[in-house]
């Protein structure tokens, strides 16, 4: 119930419906001119069907209920049938309306506008033809059963049916027009209004003329009726039909029409009237529907044409705006269309290619760069002949004479018979691209030349170890790798010297595994099969995520370097040997001198002794003295020999406690001449309270002499300033004394290397001095070192421990 309540139509509509229904009943009553029948045109049927057609299904009970009340009211007012008969008749009418509406919906769908021929036919057949069968049957049966106005079923049925059908045909369209145009009056122009008025006047005039006389004249109304239908379509038809019905009714009632007559012919007349109205309505509706359909077709066509024009405009805009050249050729290759860009580029349109003495295509190919023109013509001609797509790159002359690279393509359009209808061409400006490519190629070539020019072999490997690049120089030197040794491991095994391979391979494998750059030095076989030393450096190239993309290996030939190093080492060794020999020679000269002195003395003394003894008389005293001297000198010679032997054994010699200061003083005296000759000031700063130190006097003196001489020589090159040599002695901690020799010369270039054997800055000299000094001091358990002074010159200092630690 609630759902029915929810679908209740607005009360105003129900009220209006009810009023129209009651008025329709009254109208039908007034038209029931045939005595005793009470049956005539039944407008409520049209109203009811139209209402139900437009109303939604669930609201139907409301309409049926209101219709029932309205009919009962009409019955009470005019028909005066017994209530059961009235209810039955109404039931028939309601069933008729519902069946009609259902059938119309069934075959037309919603909404029903009666705008197409199909809808109109469905409406006529179903609403006006089939539905009245129900009411006619129910109504006639009711009349017959109740014996109302003594009607037989067969006599009442046709009248009832045609009355209902006419009612449906005339009222339902009008009702639909009224309902559907309830809001918004039809917007008719003044011209249309004029036409409508003229038509209305003509219609009224013709109606007045035709309906008041002879029956066939009645059909004179048809042209104005059809005119209205054609010009004003459904609305015109509906309104004129309603008017026609009214006029006819008025004339019939007043008896002025050809449908009024004596009671005998009344029934036949009635049928004629209904038939007239039904035919008119049918014709008008059909014509209106056709007209409507025609109009709609016209509208649709116009819309389509407009849409097509819009699309064509869009297409032409597109073709014009495409940043490429579009062109069309006919099957013979004559240009028939250039798009705007192409026209702008070439500075000529298709008609401009019409030049005397040549075809359009030739005129067009003149714009192609001379270097490519021949190929362009040939390619295009072949495509035209064979139907193959045309593809080519060429330079095309712009309107200003500049040539730009174009990438052009053309395809044929074929009809169903595979005949070529047209050629469509597309042409891009790729000049910037070509130039960029050229620049890139140029750069790449430059880079390649650079790589080739460098005295380095460059290889690259993929992370999996496959060779991806080998520089020209590599290929020249090593030869092109065979396909089976593009793999790094195989390559290394093939090229590296068997002795170097294991180390080299291990290092490379580690590098590859850990992703770390590595360096390898090994011998590599070149094209001639000669092994040469190379240094190969490998470096990974990583992408932004850190994964290795490529390995680069640059190798340099270091053969000469390695050879030079070997030569240098050999030279060093030979030098060392020579130095050894030289120092041996020096040493032996010294020893010779040392031993020679006592020997010379012995010889001279021997001679003298001999002479004293040979004198007459022999001088025995002198002979004795000389003999003693001989013994003494021979001993001293033996001592020298012993000391030398001790020196060579590196064994500590007999050390005696000595005063270092006295030793220094002696050395200074010994060097005095040299120091004076070189204009050097010697300053001593000796600590007087130093304890005695056990040392080898000769060796330590040798050290001091050496240090002083070094200091003197360090100041040799000095041109400015005072040349000063300082010697100082002091305590070094509690258990040692320290002696320092400082000069004001150039200092040491490398204060540590000076102690290396054969390190010398002097023109002459073995570079043994300081090394020997150090070993002497160290053999005494002390230390000897050199430092550069803060201001100028250098200092060599050594310590001697008080408690001697014997070192051998």
């Amino acid at each position: 119930m609630t759902s029915v309540w929810l679908h209740r139509p607005r009360l105003m509509y129900l009220g209006l419906f009810s009023a129209a229904y009651v008025l329709g009943c009254g109208f039908a009553q007034s038209l029931a001119i045939v005595p005793g029948t009470g049956i005539s045109i039944w407008p409520p049927a049209g109203l009811f069907i139209a209402t139900l057609v437009l109303a939604s299904g669930p609201s139907w009970p409301w309409w049926v209920g209101v219709g029932c009340l309205s009919e009962l009211a009409g019955n009470a007012l005019w028909f005066h049938s017994p209530l059961p008969a009235a209810v039955l008749i109404y039931a028939g009418n309601a069933l008729e309306a519902m069946a009609g509406a259902w059938l119309v919906h069934r075959f037309c769908g919603r909404p029903v506008r009666l705008e197409t021929l199909r809808e109109v036919l469905v409406f006529v057949v179903m609403g006006a033809g089939a539905a009245p069968v129900v009411s006619a049957t129910v109504g006639s049966a009711t009349l017959a059963w109740f014996g109302i106005q003594s009607q037989s079923f067969t006599a009442a049925w046709p009248l009832w049916w045609i009355g209902d059908a006419t009612g449906v045909l005339i009222v339902a369209p009008l009702a639909l027009v009224v309902f559907q145009n309830w809001r918004g009056a039809a917007a008719l122009s003044a011209k249309r209004w004029g036409e409508a008025s003229v038509l209305g006047l003509i219609f009224l005039g013709v109606a007045a003329l035709s309906l008041s006389g002879y029956l066939p004249f009645a059909y004179m109304i048809m042209p104005p009726l059809l005119w209205a239908s054609v010009r004003f379509e459904f609305k015109g038809a509906a309104i004129t039909l309603a008017l026609l019905a009214l006029i006819t009714a008025v004339f019939t009632i007043s008896g002025a029409s050809q449908f009024a007559g004596d009671p005998e012919s009344q029934k036949e007349k009635q049928v004629m009237l209904h038939l007239f109205l039904a035919i008119s309505a049918f014709s008008a509706l059909i014509v209106a529907a056709i007209s409507r359909q025609h109009q709609q077709a016209l509208v649709t066509l116009r819309q389509n044409v407009d849409a097509l024009r819009d699309r064509e405009w869009e297409f032409s805009q597109l073709v014009g705006m495409v940043p490429s050249h579009l062109w069309r050729l006919n099957p013979d290759g004559e240009p028939i269309f250039f798009n705007r860009r192409m026209v702008e580029f070439l500075g000529m349109d298709v008609p401009d290619t019409d030049k005397p003495g040549m075809s359009r295509l030739e005129a067009l190919s003149e714009a192609v760069h001379p270097e490519e023109a021949e190929k362009f013509r040939g390619t295009l001609r072949r495509s035209l002949a064979t139907g193959e797509p045309f593809r080519m790159r060429y330079r095309l002359r712009r309107f200003d004479g500049a040539y730009r690279w174009m990438s052009s393509a053309a395809n044929p359009l074929r009809d169903e018979g595979q005949r070529i209808v047209q050629w469509y061409g597309l042409c891009h400006d790729i000049d910037d691209q070509v130039r960029a490519e050229e620049a890139l190629r140029e750069r790449e070539r430059g880079l390649q030349e650079l790589v080739d020019a460098m005295p380095v072999n460059i290889l690259s490997f993929s992370p999996s170890g496959k060779m991806t690049y080998a520089s020209k120089r590599y290929l020249e030197q090593v030869g092109s790798p065979l396909s089976h040794i593009e793999d790094f491991n195989a390559l290394a095994k093939d090229l590296a010297h068997p002795d170097d391979f294991p180390t080299m391979f291990e290092r490379a494998s580690n590098g590859f595994a850990n992703g770390e750059a590595f360096v390898n030095r090994f011998r590599r076989r070149d094209k001639q099969g000669v092994y040469r030393w190379i240094e190969a450096r490998a470096q990974p190239l990583r992408d932004s995520s850190g994964a290795i993309v490529q390995w680069y290996i640059a190798s340099i030939d270091i053969e000469d370097e390695v050879r030079a190093q070997e030569a240098l080492r050999a030279a060093h060794e030979s030098l060392a040997r020579q130095s050894q020999a030289a120092s041996l020679a020096e040493l032996s000269a010294t020893i010779a001198h040392e031993v020679n002195q006592p020997l010379a003395a012995i010889v001279a003394n021997s001679h003298a002794c001999h002479r004293w003894l040979s004198a007459d008389p022999p001088n025995l005293d002198r002979a004795k003295i000389t003999a003693e001297r001989i013994i003494r000198d021979a001993n001293s010679a033996a001592e020298v020999i012993g000391r030398v032997r001790a020196l060579f054994r590196h064994s500590p010699q007999a050390r005696s406690p000595e005063d270092v200061n006295r030793l220094i003083s002696e050395v200074c005296r010994l060097m005095a001449d040299e120091i004076t000759a070189k204009v050097i000031r010697l300053e001593t700063n000796l600590n007087p309270g130093l304890p005695l130190v056990a040392l080898d006097r000769v060796q330590v003196q040798q050290v001091m002499v050496n240090l002083l001489r070094n200091g003197i020589e360090a100041m040799d090159g000095l041109l400015d300033g005072v040349r000063t040599l300082w010697i100082s002695s002091c305590r070094d901690g509690t258990d040692a004394i320290r002696v320092e020799v400082t000069d004001s010369g150039g200092g040491f270039a490398d204060a540590e290397r000076v102690f290396e054997p054969f390190f010398t800055t002097k023109q002459q000299g073995m570079g043994m001095g300081l090394a020997i000094c150090r070993s002497i001091v160290e053999s005494h358990g002390g230390r000897l070192w050199a430092v550069n002074n803060d201001d100028r010159g250098g200092t060599v200092a050594f310590t001697l421990p008080l408690a001697v630690t014997e070192t051998s």
């Binding site: 000269a589 001198h593 020679n596 003395a601 012995i602 001279a604 004198a615 001088n619 000198d633």
Partner: protein
């Protein structure tokens, strides 16, 4: 230092032909090695000569013995001034005392240098006594000869000093071999006067003949010969 005792003692006993300390040739030994120094002195002494030994060049120069007759025995290699240096400086000072070099290890360039500079001999240690003594004797003879020559010159110079300027002019012209007549004409004096001057010159120069006079003249050093008569 000078070994005084052997020198004094032996000179008295062992040199019969000695003519006193001042005149006896002195053999000066310079060597830094004391034992060598002693031994050489002993050898010289045993040969009847007077030795004097020094440890260094400096000691030698301090002793002022270089104007005495005799010779030098020098060690080439010595601390301070070497023997070769000493030879050089003596030559520069006009001292022509003969030098014998002794060395432990002489090389050829050193020898050549020494001999070119006027050394008497260049001997290597140890040296045979006779070799050394022969060298010493010949050096002393050279010295004596040099000294005798120097004495003659000294006397001539002394005599020349007694001449008057005019006599010196005449001597100069005579020495050039000109005749008295030519000299007289040149000097603008009479021939008699020239002869007078010449006889005075011969007397003063203690020359018995013109030949003797000219020989004496020629011993004079060149500057002295040229300065008169110019």
């Amino acid at each position: 230092m000078i070994d005084e005792h052997p020198l004094q003692r032996t000179s008295a006993q062992l040199s019969p032909q000695s003519r006193g300390d001042a005149e006896q040739p002195l053999v000066i030994i310079v060597d830094d090695d004391a034992s060598v120094r002693e031994a050489l002195s002993e050898l010289v002494l045993s040969a009847g000569l007077q030795p004097a030994s020094f440890a260094s060049t400096r000691e030698l120069l301090d002793a002022e013995v270089l104007d005495r007759p005799g010779c030098l025995i020098l060690d080439v290699r010595m601390p301070g001034t070497s023997g070769l240096n000493l030879q050089e400086s003596l030559a520069q000072n006009g001292n022509s005392m003969p030098i014998i070099f002794l060395t432990g290890h002489g090389d050829i360039p050193m020898t050549v240098q020494a001999m070119k500079a006027g050394a008497v001999d260049f001997l290597t240690k140890p040296v045979r006594d006779q070799t050394l003594l022969d060298a010493v004797v010949s050096a002393i003879e050279i010295d004596a000869c040099q000294r005798a020559k120097a004495e003659v010159v000294r006397r001539t110079v002394e005599r020349l000093a007694t001449l008057t300027p005019r006599e010196r002019e005449v001597l100069h012209e005579v020495a050039r071999g000109r005749l008295s007549k030519q000299i007289a004409f040149d000097l603008g004096i009479r021939e008699v006067t020239v002869k007078l001057h010449r006889s005075n010159v011969m007397r003063k120069m203690k020359a018995t003949s013109i030949v003797e006079l000219i020989r004496a003249w020629e011993t004079l050093p060149l500057p002295m010969r040229g300065d008169s008569g110019a």
